[in-house]
C-alpha cells in the first residue's frame, strides 16, 4: 500500500462513501467528511496528500477549505467536484486546483486522482 491519503469532503454523504470505497479499492487510504465545518477544523490534523471537495455545502464553502489547505500545505493538489459550471471555472483558476463537474464518470475521476496522486 502506498499509504497516500485522500480527504473527501462532500455534503452528499453517499457520494463521499462511494468515492471512498472505490479509491480504497485502488489502494488509496481515504477519510471522508460530510460536515464542512468539521472538515475545516480537521484539515490540519488529517493532512491529506489530496483533497477532494465539493464547493456548495452548508455552513462552510469549499473555497474556505481550499484556502485553508493552501495555507497548511501549498503543494497539496485539490480536486474540486461540483455541479455548477461557473464554479468549476472559478475554482479551476486557483493554484493546485483541478475540477471535475458532476455528474462525472467514475473513470474520469480515477484518471484525475491517479494523475494528481500517483500510486507507487
Amino acid at each position: 500500500m502506498s499509504g497516500k491519503k485522500i480527504y473527501i469532503v462532500d455534503d452528499e454523504g453517499d457520494l463521499a462513501e462511494l468515492l471512498q470505497m472505490h479509491l480504497e479499492d485502488m489502494g488509496y487510504h481515504c477519510q471522508r467528511e460530510v460536515d464542512s465545518r468539521t472538515a475545516l477544523e480537521q484539515l490540519d490534523t488529517v493532512r491529506p496528500d489530496l483533497l477532494i471537495t465539493d464547493v456548495q455545502m452548508p455552513y462552510v464553502s469549499g473555497y474556505a477549505l481550499i484556502e485553508k489547505m493552501q495555507q497548511i500545505s501549498p503543494e497539496t493538489p485539490i480536486l474540486v467536484i461540483t455541479g455548477f459550471a461557473h464554479e468549476n471555472k472559478t475554482a479551476a483558476a486557483l493554484p493546485q486546483v483541478t475540477t471535475l463537474q458532476k455528474p462525472f464518470n467514475l473513470s474520469e475521476l480515477v484518471e484525475r486522482v491517479q494523475s494528481l496522486l500517483p500510486i507507487s
Binding site: D14, L18, G83, K102, P103, N105
Partner: protein, 398 residues
Amino acid sequence: MKRKKKAITLLKTLGQRLLNRKDSTLSESDFFLETILDHLPHMVFVKEARDLRFVRFNKAGEKLLGITNEEIIGKNDYDLFPKEQADAFTAKDREVLNRRETVVIQEEPIQTPHGLRYLHTQKITITDRQQQPLYLLGISIDVTEDRKNRELIELQKEKLIQSARLTAVGEMASGIAHEINNPLAIIATACQHLVTRQAERRLDDAALDRNLGIIQKTVTRIARIITGLRDFSRDGEDDPFEPVAISDVLEATLPYCRERFAMHGIDFQMEAPSEDWRIECQVVRLSQVILNLLNNAFDAVSETGRLDGFVKLKVVESATSYQILVEDNGVGLVPETETSIMLPFFTTKPVGKGTGLGLSISAGIVKDHGGEIQFRRRKEGTEFSVTLPKFIANEVAL
C-alpha cells in the same frame, strides 16, 4: 276632475299625434324632441301603456333592429319578434308599468339583422299627474362589444395566470436540474463502482448490498423531486385542507429554490420550525405561495447585484397563529408602490420578467386559508409575512 280629464285628453291627442307621426303635423316642441331623440346614439322607444304599441322609435333603434319607423309605430312586440321573445319583453313591460318604476335589464339578448346583440335596457314608466301609467319609455344601449371585450379580457387573464405559473415552473427548472444531478452522480458512481469490482471479480455481498442500497435510496430521492414538481405545476385549488406541519410546507419549496440561491451566491438561511407547529392547509397551494415569496426575494436581491445578499425563511409563533417570514436585503419597496403591490398585474420587475400576478394570487390563496400576507420595509430590503391560524386538534382543544 275637469283638469284631469283635460290632461288626459291632451295626452291622448299627443299620443295620437305621435302615432300619426307621418302626418307632418308635428308641433314645434314635438319636432324639437324628435330631433334630439334621433341624434341619440342609443335606441329609444316609447310604448303606450295599454296595448304596449310603439309610439316612438328613434333612428338609432331603426339602425339596431333593422326596422323602420313606419314598420314599427302602432305595432307591439308580437308583431315584430318571435312569440317567446315578445312574451318576455311584454312581461317585463307590464312589471315596470305595474310597479310604476324604472327597471334596469343588465343584459338581454335580441335577434337583429346584424346577428344576436346584447342590450342594456332601462325601462321607465311615464305616468300622468295621478300616477297612472301612460307610457313606457325604453332606452337601450348595445353592449355586445363590451361583452365581447369582457370575455376577451377574462380569457387573457386566464392565459396570463397560466403563463405566470409556467414562469414559476421555468424558474424552478434550473434549480431542479441541480437537485437531480446530485443524486444522478451518486447512482452513476455506485453503478460504475459495481461494474469495476465485478470486472475484477472482487464483488462481494457486502459491497453489493451497500451499493444497491444507496442506488435504491437515491432513486427514491429523485422520484420524490419529480412528484413534487408535478404537484407544484398543478392548480391544487380543489385539494382538501389537511393538518400538516409548517416545516413540511417549507420543505416542499426547497428543491425549487435552494440551488438557485446557491448558484447566484445568495445566502439562503432557513430556521426550521418546530415539527409540532401545525396548520390546516392545502399543502401544494401554500407551498406555491412560499415559493413565490422566495422567488420575489431572489429577484429583489439579484437586482442589487450585492455580494452579501441573503434571504431568510423562518416561522414565529403567536397565541393563535404562526407567521412565516421571508426576509431579504434586496432592492426593497418604495412608498409609492406599497399600496399597489398586492394588485393583480402590478409589477416592478422588468418587462417580460414578472407578470404582476404572483402576489395577488398568493394573497388570494392565503385568504382562502383564513390568513393574510403582509409586508414591511426593512432598513435594507423587505420582509413578507404569511400569517396563518394555528391548527388545534379536537382532542387537544377539549
